[in-house]
Symmetry: C2
């Protein structure tokens, strides 16, 4: 089952050096999930050929402008493009007031419904459970209420060994039961063990999105062992005081989080406008966690194909 | 005195085909005036090397998102870049509520002051009068309250004929009086006429910004004889019904407005996302008014140097 993350923006606070502020899109089993929606996200979607009509779920981590100021524009474009499907919006509660105020003064009545699910940073909440995944909030520690999001693929059914199934001429209506682990009893009474008919499914993948936050072990337990960790790394570690003061993380600390939580792979992003090039940030994170990459715009990270 | 208009965006409603929605920046005597501020305007400013710190005046025509959704991001960036100077914001009154709500939830207290001047579409208002220009609102006819803006350069003082002034050895303290039209009486009692010492200054230039509006002669009188007219031209004339229904103008009508009002030059913009290329719109406007150009992003139109 496809599970991939495409970076649409990785700048913090202000757009600069052709880096856009934060937005990412997940493609999980051909469903698109947008995480954060900074100003210019629509333009980035056009650039990377991501259709707004395919997005049914939007997650907003917090109400600093560099994480949501592109949302009302995107919602308006979906409206102008005749969207009919409801949209699920996972966000801090005040965002509803902000959106509704802007729609009111533009005299816009959206031609589709928004289903709001409000997040808070008090404790992890299970906010979505569909056929492919579950999504939990990750309470972070930033200057204003902020949550990350933990996407966990569901365990899939066992995979049929096609040749064996055909050889035994097992009728289709029995497939699901076998995928679920049942043995097969042939019409002649012979029993074929499930182990001889199926193989294990792929291990479910998981993705943790952690932006913005100060280094704080309170969320480490929740994200233990994820397949891919996105962690903010706003500053180099020589700016640790500034990171603490603004409730951000350094690249070194992001590498530490990945090591401590046993992530398989790390992406760092949310780079301060003070860094024109990003190699130093990457090197610093890699000094703690080798399997690290930069959240470069347009780049897609594949968890499973 | 420099007077030029740089186009930052010319799309209507949604960003598309690498066209950003509406924003323009005027440079008048090295002061920058931003007109409308769609999503992505900050990014366009970076692209065309326009410094936000140099903008002291922002004009918002109306509260459709494609004219203002980049504003809160720009205001935030000015804040993060340590702006101290007050900013003048000319806009419909509800924009204050929208801005303040967003600043409230991001817990941002701007480090500079915004001086609001509220516009309305009831009648033209003189909203700015500084040493270089006056600015009036142009009440337009759109679906929600909308005003254009009429920028008029002030008549400058007469220009001294440098050689003549040096030849007569006129002391500097007398220059201003002579520029204002006074004759010069030399120490020996000889009177030199002002006409022999000065030439006429450049004719003051004017710029009318008209977006968005249905074709409606109510504002024609106010914009008579402008040096440069920017007029929206959302559709080709075969979409006249749609233009009327959505309170927009066709390219043909924009050409007519320029002809009827005796503009010297016309720029058309605010192009619908249905037009991938713009030549047909240009040809149609030119069929009514030859001296027409397209509002192409990054292009600067010079009224005086």
């Amino acid at each position: 089952m496809k599970f991939e993350v495409t970076i649409l923006g990785s700048s913090s606070a202000t757009p600069i050096f052709n880096r856009n502020p934060t937005a990412q899109v997940l493609n999980i089993n051909e469903k698109l999930y947008l995480i954060d929606c900074a100003e210019g996200t629509q333009q980035q979607m056009l650039r990377f050929d991501i259709k707004g009509s395919r997005i049914d779920y939007i997650f907003i981590s917090h109400l600093h402008g560099d994480h949501y100021l592109g949302l009302v524009g995107l919602l308006s474009s979906m409206h102008l493009n005749g969207r009919k499907k409801a949209l699920q919006l996972f966000c801090p509660e005040p965002l509803k007031e902000i959106i509704e105020l802007q729609l009111k003064y533009s005299e816009t009545s959206l031609c589709y419904e928004i289903n709001y699910v409000f997040t808070n940073d008090k404790a992890p909440q299970l906010i979505l459970d569909n056929q492919d995944i579950t999504v939990e909030t990750i309470p972070l520690d930033h200057r204003i209420p902020t949550t990350g999001f933990l996407f966990k693929q569901k365990k899939r059914l066992r995979k049929l060994i096609k040749e064996r199934i055909e050889e035994l001429d097992i009728p289709v209506p029995f497939y699901t039961a076998i995928k679920r682990g049942k043995d097969w009893e042939a019409p002649d009474g012979t029993v074929y063990s499930n182990a001889s008919l199926t193989i294990d499914p792929e291990e479910p993948k998981s993705y943790a999105y952690c932006s913005d936050t100060i280094y704080n072990p309170k969320y480490f337990n929740q994200i233990t062992g994820v397949s891919l960790l996105y962690h903010e790394a706003t500053f180099l570690n020589d700016m640790l005081d500034r990171a603490n003061q603004t409730h951000h993380t350094t690249a070194l600390q992001a590498g530490e989080v990945a090591t401590i939580t046993g992530a398989e792979r790390l992406i760092i992003g949310h780079f301060s406008a003070r860094y024109k090039t990003l190699n130093e940030l990457l090197d610093e994170a890699r000094s703690k966690f080798e399997n690290t990459d930069l959240a470069v715009e347009g780049k897609t990270f594949i968890l499973s194909e």
